[in-house]
């Protein structure tokens, strides 16, 4: 009942600006989908199109088996959590949560029961009679979630709900949201620009760039097999190293060193290697990195330097000696090749090797 499907959905504003184009996606019942991308990539617009706050100019959105393009937000059976909470300042916590139900003429006793249940789940019982201004940021966010939960909608829509919280609270709220969603099992769409939030929350990620879908997949799939240089640089921290390299004779060449097999590719390519996939290697096998700067993170360190005039970052365990020049290499499966012009991934491995992931 809580599936959402997007059929070539697009949004073009009256001025001719295209914010979202050709998004096709099927969200299964109970799935947690995170829409992630840099600001201006259209992720919020897409969410607001699902909510009915923005008109859908192309394609169709289908929620729980109904095409909702022409339905009012109230009739779409969705609930939304906003970045700035959007609580009604003059109503108490209880009234805030009950308002949507009251407008739907839910019987009083049922409203009471649902609000009490949501308050219990969110540990909001002591605050039910307070006004939002008397609550902290985290509590307000919880009230906003309570307002969504009591409605028992087909889908939750989250629009960067944690952006206004401080870093520590964000981490704990993130876990709470995930646990809550698992428990209630409501289909959720979640918009964020924070790739870490996206990785930790999502069943599946939708990476957006410039209004187009770059990649859809499970967090680890997206992490290990980015479909384009954009996804590669956006997901993961530190960002994946992207370097200009050449493929000759089936080998990837970088700075005069053969890095590994290149499959069917040929000529200039963009080579992507994650900082944590790079390991110190014997001088004969690795590529020479001119060390410039070392970031100490406590649990490890990130070494920044240059290879063949190109910046490269390497994650290393603490304690290993670092000289002026460091020879590093990576396992063949850690090499990602991208087309230099389109930025799309070039598959180098056979299907069998992919299945191991």
């Amino acid at each position: 009942m809580g599936q959402i499907s997007f059929k070539s959905v697009g949004k073009t504003y009256a001025g001719g600006v295209t914010a979202v184009s050709d998004v096709t996606l099927d969200v299964a019942e109970g799935e947690f989908i995170v829409l992630v991308g840099p600001s201006g990539c259209g992720k919020s617009t897409l969410l607001r199109m699902v909510a009915g706050l923005e008109e859908i100019t192309d394609g169709e959105i289908d929620i729980a088996g109904r095409v909702v393009n022409r339905l009012d937000p109230a009739d779409r059976d969705i609930a939304m959590v906003f970045q700035n909470y959007a609580l009604y300042p003059h109503m108490t916590v209880k009234e805030n949560m009950a308002y949507g139900l009251k407008n739907r003429r839910t019987p009083k006793a049922e409203i009471e029961a649902r609000v009490a249940e949501a308050a219990r789940m969110l540990e909001l019982q002591p605050y039910l009679d307070r006004k939002p201004r008397a609550l902290s940021g985290g509590q307000r966010q919880r009230v906003a979630m309570g307002r969504a939960i009591v409605r028992q909608p087909a889908a939750f829509l989250f629009d960067e709900p944690l952006s206004n919280l401080d870093a520590k609270l964000r981490v704990s709220m993130r876990m709470e949201i995930r646990k809550l969603q698992r428990r209630i099992g409501t289909t959720s769409l979640y918009v964020t620009h924070d790739q870490l939030e996206a990785m930790t929350l999502a069943d599946r990620l939708v990476v957006l760039n410039g209004g187009k879908v770059e990649q859809i997949g499970k967090p680890l799939e997206v992490y290990h097999r980015p479909a384009s240089t954009f996804v590669a640089s956006f997901i993961g921290s530190p960002a994946m190293n992207l370097l200009d390299a050449r493929v000759e004779g089936g080998q990837v060449w970088l700075g005069g060193a053969a890095m590994g097999p290149a499959g069917r590719a040929e000529g200039p390519v963009t080579l992507g290697i994650r900082a944590e996939d790079l390991r110190p290697a014997p001088a004969s096998q690795g590529v020479a990195l001119k060390v410039e700067h070392v970031e100490e993170l406590g649990s490890g360190r990130v070494v920044h330097g240059h290879v063949d005039g190109q910046a490269l970052a390497v994650s290393m365990a603490p304690g290993l000696p670092i000289g002026d020049v460091l020879h590093v290499g990576a396992a063949p499966e850690a090499l990602h090749l991208f087309d230099t012009t389109t930025g799309r991934r070039i598959e180098t491995r056979t299907r069998a090797a992919e299945l191991v992931l």
Partner: protein
């Protein structure tokens, strides 16, 4: 920053306070003396013994040409005018501002500016056409005729428009998702949020209505519609028992005329400040 108060500052403040308060004190003190005393001795700054009698007389004695109008009637009329203006203007300008801010219709901005430029036209400019319209509608000598033509308020519309623009859009969106239509959003969300604005506008508009003099004088010839402002004037002209005008009664009416606006300011100012400090936007 705390600053040490100097005696000289105090002196200036005291002089200023006296300057503002003395006329009121003198009006009140004089109203408690008899007209003859005032006539022979001038104004008083100390209360006399005639107060209760004067005020009772002013409030209850029938006067005017018809011998029907009491001070209470006039007080009542002024109240109706003041409250009618204030409430009517708030309701109308809130609805106008709601339409201007939340509904996208053609020429919304030009319409707003047209409304806004009427601010530049004082009532006196359109007093003749307004009178004619009311006269043709047979609304002379009615409360409707007194109140309705002055209800459209550019000031109110402007203030509410600015206020509505400052309400975050997400509230509207949340309300839409919560199933509130345009009317429900207005009544359930915007009106409660505007309480402080309403208090501020009520203060301004009540006093505006209360102080109307020229307009009621034109619109009403029936003495039962007389307001306090006209009453003060008529006392000096009409209620002449002997050769001496009833100064004390005029003063008493003036003092009475000051009380309701004072109460309105005190009550709504508190609400106004409370709203300002409690608001979390």
């Amino acid at each position: 920053m705390m600053q040490r108060l100097k005696p000289f500052d105090h002196l200036i403040l005291i002089l200023g306070a006296l300057f503002l308060c003395m006329p009121v004190v003198m009006a009140f003190a004089s109203s408690t003396h008899t007209a003859i005393d005032i006539h022979s001795n001038g104004l008083y700054v100390t209360p006399g013994s005639n107060g209760a009698e004067t005020y009772t007389k002013v409030l209850t004695q029938r006067g005017g040409f018809t011998g029907e109008v009491t001070g209470l009637t006039m007080l009542m009329n002024s109240m109706i005018l003041g409250v009618g203006f204030a409430v009517g203007k708030i309701v109308l300008s809130m609805m106008a501002a709601y339409a201007l801010v939340y509904f996208r219709f053609r020429f919304a901005t030009p319409i707003f500016w047209v409304i806004f430029t009427t601010l530049l036209l004082p009532l006196e400019v359109r007093i003749m056409p307004s009178y004619q319209v009311m006269s043709e509608l047979k609304l002379l000598n009615t409360y409707q005729g007194l109140i309705v033509p002055l209800l459209a308020s550019a000031t109110g519309t402007f203030f509410f428009r600015q206020f509505f623009k400052s309400v975050p859009d997400e509230l509207l969106e949340a309300a839409r998702i919560d199933g509130a239509g345009p009317v429900k959003f207005f009544i359930d969300i915007l009106v409660p949020l505007s309480r402080t604005m309403m208090a501020a506008i009520f203060i301004i508009m009540f006093i505006y209505g209360w102080n109307q003099y020229l307009w009621p004088m034109l619109m009403t010839t029936d003495e039962s519609f007389f307001t306090l402002m006209r009453g003060i004037k008529t006392i000096l002209q009409v209620w002449v028992g002997s050769q001496i005008p009833d100064y004390n009664e005029a003063f008493a009416l003036a003092v009475l005329a000051m009380v309701p606006p004072l109460v309105v300011v005190l009550v709504f100012q508190r609400m106004f400040i409370k709203g300002l400090t409690e608001s979390d936007k």
